[in-house]
Symmetry: C2
Subunit: 121 residues, 2 copies
């Protein structure tokens, strides 16, 4: 495990794809991932994993079946396991994720957005 520091902006400059999380850190079986959001993701949940979204740049809307909340720069939200959710970004947003290494981006759903293998950058 590296103890070298990670600069979020520098890592974010290394890729352009949206909805494609990149692994930038690992600790205690958890991943730190960076992802660029734009548009509507797929509705899904994670059976066994809680998932943290911290906005590094921009903002996005987290939709739930019973409501929604805008998450702004410098804010985070934890989506508990089992809770169906859909992130939506009207403009590109840059987000840091903190979640178990086992977490599949589309949770219980497999579709064109599913990323089975994530790059480490």
């Amino acid at each position: 495990m590296s103890r070298d520091k990670v600069n979020l902006a520098q890592k974010l400059s290394l890729f352009g794809e949206q909805w494609s999380p990149k692994i930038v850190g690992e600790l205690n079986g958890q991943h730190v991932r960076l992802v660029k959001l734009f548009g509507e993701f797929v509705w899904h949940h994670h059976d066994d994993e809680d998932e943290l979204f911290l906005v590094v740049k921009g903002r996005f809307r987290m939709e739930y079946r019973d409501g929604e909340e805008w998450i702004e720069e410098g804010e985070f939200v934890v989506v508990p396991r089992g809770v169906e959710h859909r992130p939506v970004a009207e403009e590109e947003a840059h987000v840091m994720l903190f979640e178990p290494a086992s977490t599949l981006n589309t949770g219980n759903v497999r579709d064109g957005l599913t990323q089975e293998v994530l790059d480490r950058i």
Copy 2:
């Protein structure tokens, strides 16, 4: 578990004490904590926990027995379990921690800086 969002700046405005981590989120057995650093902490390590420090405001120096590194705003470092370290901040720095809920702030050391019980804010 709350799915309400957390605003880091708002939470940081709620306390002034330094070296006293506050719990602001919990997921997968891990805590999200906020802490204000100023001056020199105590040398310590964690036997079983890797620890992430993300700088929200300011900068600090992470010292190791064989070197040191400045961690700037928008950067994080993961200190692997077993690695002796000492955070030092020449000016007050605001830091978000990700670490197992079991993590004691002073690790293997007990002294005046040890916080046995952390507030949730």
